[in-house]
Amino acid sequence: MNLVVDSDYQRSQFYQAYLLSVVREKQILLTTSLSLTGGALLLVASIVLLARPEYQGTRAGFADENYLKSGDCRSCHADHYASWARTFHSRMTQEATPANVQGDFTRNNSFEYLGVKARMEKRADGFFMILNLPDGNIQTAKIDRIVGSRRIEQYLTKQPNQYTRLPLAYDLVNHRWMSLNGSFFYPDGDNYFQHVAQWDSNCVFCHNVKAQPHLDFGNKKFATEVSELGIACGVCHGPGAAHAESALSPLTRTAWHLQPGEDKQIVDPLKLSSERSLMICGHYHGQRIPEPMDRIQSILSQGDPFNAGDDLAQFYRPIDRDSHIGPVAFASRFWPNGSPRLTAYEYQGILRSKCFRNGETGKRINCLTCHIMHGGDPRGQITDENRTDQPCLACHRQFGQTKALVAHTGHAAASAGSRCYNCHMPRVVYGIMAFHPTHDITVPAPQLTANSGVPNACNQCHLDRSVNWAITEARRIWPEQFAQAQLSPDDQFNLPEGPRALFAGDALTRALAADLMSGNGPTKPDPGWASPFLVEAFADKYPIVRFFAANGLTRPGVPWKGDKPDYLAAPEVRETMLRRWRDLTTVCPANVREQATSWSLKFQKPRRETDLEVGE
């Protein structure tokens, strides 16, 4: 019995011990497994935290402190990076590498102007511009950077104290070399180097992110730096280091995703007040002078103080018709009524517009009303929809109805005369070999042409009608608005406005008229009527007027075949071309040809010239 009892007891003890050992073993296994899993988690977390990048404090002490480069933004904003990379903004200023340079340095690589024979060469060590001067001297410049990637490509060479813009550029539209004199409003002259300019004190501010010229005033030496070449993320979004630093945490990012309104420590132009958003673009698209003027010292030494989201007026004042810096006046950059006549003054245009001035504070019209930075057509940064009346109809809804539209415009609903842009944003602004819609959104006023020489929207279509005809029609269609408009007693305003402006206006007005007569305006004039005038316009002493005239003579659809006259050719060559083109256009009505000859002579002497550069 004892043995049995003993045996049962022992068996029970054995089972207990066995079960305990099994349980203990399982516990040990579980504990060990959990510990190792926790260890693995700790290891992973440590590596991740050690490997995370640091953004805060980059470029500490410089004007571009805490600014990131576009590559830093790419890892999180791949779509935005891609949509930015396809814009001309992204390629505004670039290093002169084979991948970036578009100019022809290998085949059509020579160009003669004002007696200087230039040859452009691509060598193993880079791109070069070699100038054979009439006195036998040869100047060779290595091209280090390029500016522009859409219409013209300009070239910068690095010198000991500065970057210098070279006198020749490549016309990316017409695929040819050109003198920069061919893109400004100056007569041929004899100064080949007239438009050689300093990049560091000038171009750098509007074509890059956070320019810092670091000018040593004593030695007049620049050591220019930029946060990034071209127009990149920092321009619109400001310094991004704090944002990037916070965004490294997935928890923060999840919180941002769940609460889109939360402060992400970055500027989003779409969330700023409309005025502040406008200032971001205005900083680049609105030529400006420092405020106060002596701030120029710190700008040239330390750099541009403005960041996206700031009040631009704290640092700068937009240039207007009355502005001047010492003896340098800016009046010629504006039409007599104060409206800008050059690009890079879009900010001033918008500020003058009733759409902006009469808008509700914080919600006024601004650039993003029509333009889009991460979509649409890179040419103009605009969607197809916004090229129509759509942006205007967002506020002026009543004109979405055909009846109301026709009553408002006095033109057929589908015609060019019923398109908002054509009347309220006519193409009267010049920039880089093309005319653009003004951003000074106005009511057409044909009487302004007669009174002060401001081109009017009506005669942009009705080139074959006079200014006085336009005034009469305006009074008929809109009697209330034009009750005070008076016909001009000056007989020239009874002539067709297209040809009149082509010969009587200043160089910019003539170039604009040539462009409109070439069919680049809202309507396309009959080449049989327009061409004799364009032929005579090719005799103009301003290359830029000849450029537009030459384009018009050879535009698609003209009934004759002739080589495009070279607007930068030597005078004797141009004279030969002119004679050839006069012969070609003898098929045009004789009275038109006579008008072209007589009007070109009639207006040449009394007209006033205003020479001006663009963007300087």
């Binding site: 296994l29 579980l30 497994s33 190792l36 988690l41 890892s75 904003h77 999840t254």
Partner: protein, 155 residues
């Protein structure tokens, strides 16, 4: 007698383990079948150049991860079940549960994160992935210890 009783008691104790093993086996094969089917779908989207897949890098990556992890974890479940059979492993129930849960949740997390996602950032479904990964790691470690040490059937 002791041996007989031990055997009886052990058999009784292992019955749930055998059930977990079978369930893992079923889940493993289903997982392989389902995520291979998903892989086939991805091939189709790729073959027919479907923009919503092809042009969306984040989605593409997450879907790939879902496909790869789903299939691989299915195979791991099968391996767990076979190793139990072959080597008479007896990992704790928690190991089975965590391995199976992790294997199911992780690819679903990737999938959901790819369907609804933000620019260059996965959707909220991605938050399912780290805990699922930890469950799988825990299960794997527990299996490793069961294979290494005494936790074998019949010990």
């Amino acid at each position: 007698m002791v041996t007989t009783d031990d055997t009886r008691s052990t058999t009784t104790a292992m019955e749930p383990a055998a059930r977990w093993c079978r369930e893992a086996l079923v889940q493993g094969w289903i997982s392989v079948a389902a995520w291979m089917t998903f892989g086939l779908l991805l091939e189709g989207l790729l073959g027919y150049k479907t923009p919503s897949y092809l042009l969306d890098d984040t989605r593409r990556e997450l879907f790939r991860l879902a496909h790869a992890h789903g299939t691989l974890l299915g195979l791991i479940l099968l391996a767990a079940a076979f190793s139990r059979q072959l080597f008479k492993l007896a990992p704790p129930r928690a190991a089975w549960i965590s391995l199976r849960t992790g294997a199911a949740v992780m690819p679903i997390g990737f999938l959901l994160a790819g369907i609804w996602h933000y620019e260059s950032d996965p959707g909220l479904g991605i938050w399912l992935v780290p805990p699922a990964a930890l469950l799988v790691i825990f299960g794997a470690v527990a299996f490793a210890f069961a294979a290494r040490g005494g936790n074998r059937e019949g010990n």
